[in-house]
Amino acid sequence: MKSPFRGFVAMLYKEFIAVLRDPMTLFFMFFPPLVEMIAFGYALDNDIKNMSLVVLDQDRTVESRELVDRFANTGTFRVTGEAQSLEEVRTIMRRGKAWAALQIPPDFTRELHAGRTAHVQVLIDGSSSTPALQALNTSLAVTLRQSVVALLQESGRTQVPVEVRPQVLYNPALRSPNFFVPGVIGVVLQIATTFASAMSLVRERERGTLEQLLVSPLSRWGLMLGKLTPYMCIGLVMASTLFGIMHWLFLVPIAGSVLSMFVATIVYVFTLLSMGLLVSTRAQNQMQAMQMSMALILPSVFFSGFIFPRETMPWIFYEIGFFIPTTYFIELMRAIVLRGASLQEFWVNVVVLIGMGILLFMFSALRFKRRLG
């Protein structure tokens, strides 16, 4: 009885030497993901601070200046200029020099002291929805608070009737990196690993060495496993680097166990590499392999919940997310890193990833033809 893995050790020997001697491949495996990680980590930031605010103060009183200060003190706004007319305000905003404008009319203080409603106008640039929403909420909160304080004084009460004591768990400072960076790791890892394994068999086909392997007693399982193992090791080295960057550069605290993180990563990388192998059984040249891997990777960027929460997507996109390994990995990472969850609590994700990996691996090994043409 011949071993189903015959030739595995030989492949392992060859692949390790070949991978480590090929600085170009190593560079292209490591460099782009690191750049992407750092770029994504810094660029994806929902914390909107210091939005430029232009002020048109037609009242010019102590009270009106206090109101401007209240806006500035939220940290959301930063006063960048004063306008003289509504016309000037509109020009400034159209040119994109300010995100919002605060217009205080001449009768502001008078109305305030008379106990009537004092009107102020806030103009918000709605062309970018997230900052606009933030500007809207902040300005409403500032004026609401002032109104409440005024009402309290009039009614003689010293306490507000209802007060919320919010407690934000797991990410008390609501830092964006804590949310994004674990997801970025999931997306970035697959770029390097899927491409690398998709290329490896195709390169042998292009060079003609595959023909030589096919006339040898090497088994399909030996070949596939021999191709996968070295890239698995590289994938884990890379994951460790990315975890390091996450923790020490983006200062994301790790609440759960590092061991659980690595178990999840091993399972995930295995799935990604198998996906790459499947591509390489199909692609005839490196160009095709690139395009096919790209087609597999792209949906994960949109549908895995890496940037946009899946729950807010239309149902079809939400369902697509279930077929993407990255979805399960990102969920696992956020749970372990941020919430300190254990693998047992997320066993479904682990089982699904293992299942996907084994299926993809078996499929690519069985699909692989031990003949040419």
């Binding site: 011949k2 492949m11 060495t209 006339v215 040898s216 007693p217």
Partner: protein, 321 residues
């Protein structure tokens, strides 16, 4: 065992869509022979080799190596054959030594057995000074030696070489053939494709494939004696003289000369038995061509292939008309 049939094809055919790459090819090769497989580019040589190695599935026909069927018993065949493809498939980033170790392990060699076999082949191929060199940095001749060493690590009974001498220098070519004779003397069966007629002359048996069909197959001496090659009432002459190209034009017009071609400093003629040497001499003398020397010769393999290809083309044309 010598004399036993090692490679056997019967009606071997390969179609790619409508294109017939190999058309009902049949031959038998005895163990220990050096079989030279000739034919122009695209005639189907590589396709035959690939089918015999189990790389391509035949569309029709049977092929057996050492009695094992190439379509069904590939595992048995893989351990007894070696294959050296056209491009000497080596791993460029691995050193000479590592390439050999890899191929040895691929065939299940380990420990002392691997060391022993590797050392033996290094000695045989004189690769010693290059052991630590990357395969990418080897010249053509040395690459080919390494490829050969790699394909021999598991002691195959049959070695397939697909144009092993294409693009390498004459010295390396000669040395490769010396190696091939040595393997053959140890009982290995060699299947070599080539373009070179001088290489064909060295083989114990040759086959010639043209337009996907095997035209002829046999020992070179038997082929040279074929009646199609030596039509009754004709003889082959080698004529050495001055101004060969000019002489060729004169001889070409002569009654009784069937074919004529220049071969270096001489002409090779196929003429009627009745044409006397003196007729040729006097005709050349009239054109002031001197130093004429005429010898009767036997046909070369090239003559054999030219004659048979011409016959085949004529048959095809007649069939079409």
């Amino acid at each position: 065992m010598p004399g036993e049939i090692m490679i056997e094809c019967d009606g071997l055919t390969k179609r790619f869509g409508h294109f017939i790459a190999v058309d009902h090819v049949s031959f038998k090769i005895a163990a220990g022979s050096i079989f030279g497989f000739l034919g122009p580019n695209g005639s189907g040589k590589s396709t035959v080799i690939r089918m015999l190695c189990g790389l391509l599935q035949p569309t029709e026909g049977v092929a057996k190596i050492a009695g094992f069927d190439v379509t069904r018993q590939t595992d048995e065949i893989k351990s007894i054959i070696g294959y050296m493809s056209q491009q000497f498939s080596l791993y460029d980033e691995l050193t000479v030594y590592e390439n050999m170790t890899f191929y040895g392990r691929l065939y299940g060699l380990r420990g002392d057995a691997l060391t022993k076999k590797r050392d033996q082949l290094i000695k045989l191929t004189h690769l010693e000074p290059f052991l630590r060199r990357r395969a990418a940095q080897l010249s053509g001749g040395w690459r080919q030696r390494l490829a050969m060493a790699c394909s021999l690590l598991h002691d195959p009974q049959v070695l397939f070489l697909d144009e092993p001498t294409a693009g390498i220098d004459p010295v390396a070519r000669r040395e490769l053939w010396d190696l091939l004779f040595e393997f053959s003397s140890r009982g290995m069966t060699l299947f070599v494709t080539t373009h070179y007629m001088d290489e064909a002359e060295r083989c114990t048996h040759v086959g010639y494939i043209h337009m996907s069909k095997l035209i002829v197959c046999g020992a070179p001496d038997d082929l040279k004696a074929l009646p199609e090659v030596n039509p009754p009432g004709t003889k082959r002459l080698d004529v050495t003289c001055d101004h060969v190209t000019k002489a060729l034009q004169i001889v070409h017009r002569l009654q009784g000369v069937r074919t004529s071609t220049v071969f270096g400093q001489s002409m090779r003629l196929l003429v009627d038995q009745s044409l006397a040497d003196d007729v040729i001499r006097s005709e050349l003398a009239r054109a002031n061509i001197t130093n004429v020397d005429i010898r009767q010769i036997s046909p070369s393999l090239e003559d054999v292939f030219v004659a048979l290809t011409a016959n085949r083309d004529r048959e095809v044309q007649e069939a079409a008309a």
